[in-house]
Symmetry: C2
Subunit: 256 residues, 2 copies
Amino acid sequence: MLWRPPGWGDVCVPGSCFAERLSDMLPLTPGEHRALERLEERERHLRRGAALQRENDPCSDLFILRKGLMMSSVLLDDGSRQILRFLFPGDMMGVSSLVYREAPETITALTDVVVCPFERTAMSALISDHPRLAALIMVYNQIERTALTDRLAALGRTSAKARVAAILLEMRNRMRMLDKALTKTFTLGLTQEEIGDATGLTAVHVNRMLRQLEDDGVIARAAGQVTLTNERALARAANFVDRYAGLDLGWLPAGR
Amino acid sequence: MLWRPPGWGDVCVPGSCFAERLSDMLPLTPGEHRALERLEERERHLRRGAALQRENDPCSDLFILRKGLMMSSVLLDDGSRQILRFLFPGDMMGVSSLVYREAPETITALTDVVVCPFERTAMSALISDHPRLAALIMVYNQIERTALTDRLAALGRTSAKARVAAILLEMRNRMRMLDKALTKTFTLGLTQEEIGDATGLTAVHVNRMLRQLEDDGVIARAAGQVTLTNERALARAANFVDRYAGLDLGWLPAGR
DNA sequence: CGAGATTTTGAGAGCCTTCAAAGGCGGTGG
DNA sequence: CCACCGCCTTTGAAGGCTCTCAAAATCTCG
């Protein structure tokens, strides 16, 4: 098994991971903080490799990821897998339970993780009692949606090298949101097969693309770590846009 | 220019197209109907080919599509285009204006269209005054998100033929939501180049795949119309799942 | 009827996959 | 503490799917 960085998500303080995420966008009121904390009252631990939710299984809870790294994916009937999204502490997961009786995607732990399950009715109460949080959750979903369309455009219209470059940048940036000290060197924590399933490539070709990026001098690899030696070139190759920047939330209602 | 079916969306009755869409999921209260109608008080007409919103331009309004067919797409810096979504009457567009100062995607009219612009503050009021509508809009966004992940999996992991088959099914199904009488034969209303930009293929290859599907006997083409002659086989080839079915909305708060 | 867009078809090239095998690394059990 | 085992990474060779380039045919619209 691939070595995964230990203790990812230890930065997550007691209270609400999700509140932290939202308050990056906007200061929250004490009432809002309390409401969000109620979503994370229960805890559940999973071993790496364990599935939190399986495609086509009945589903009803939502989750906040508190600690560790997870992914959501779908399985096609020829047996191939497409990874839709990597999930970091503070991410809300299984939102499709708000809509579907059966889960459209599988959610799996890539490291040992801690998740906080909550019921759909809790979401209902939150929306009724805290309109601004409802709006913020819409904003959060929209950011996620845009990241998804970026990936879609990458799969449809960019080369294998560009897609691998994009994943490297995405992972580094998301990890940096948890650990501000992190800069150019980081532990990727994904197998080449996982990178392939996220980018629509084979593991073999991912390996070749990593080598090419290394030969091009834009990344370096050593001891399970990746270093972005020429971030500018990497971002250009990957068509990269930071979707957590350039926000404009002036329209939100007042907090309660 | 490709011939487009005339008068698409004429089925849209006076009132609110978007309310019609939502009430397919759940009966709405009179108060909710009135609130949604306020989103469609203003009208704007666009000629086919016109852009409603351009990538990277400042944006602030959202829109409901009332009549016609549109698409949202992104342009990569090598000049290639990825179509993200086709938009039908009743669809909400430009939701990214809730989040970003500058539009992440371009929205273009594929036929002459009528759209209803409304301000972000209208959304804010809606969320505060009608929690159940806020929840329904989340549901709506989530369905759209799932359609996007289906497309993502198709681009990443299925053959060209399967992707083209998927587009045909998707378009037929969405058109059938507007015109229940529509069954196996319909006017696609897309150029092969547009199909290519949606599926991540070249127009040339789309043409070959259409021919193959025809030779396989699963579709027929005549006079700008497509007939699905073997829908079962087509759905199997395309890994198709109907994301507008299997909903479970029991958790929603009460309507006002 | 002419101009421009779209569809169709062919030939060749290239990117990525498949298949295969060797090497490295970490974990486990003796 | 060492050896073994499984997973992951790396590399090579060959094949196929899809792209590029090119040109003719068809269709739409003015």
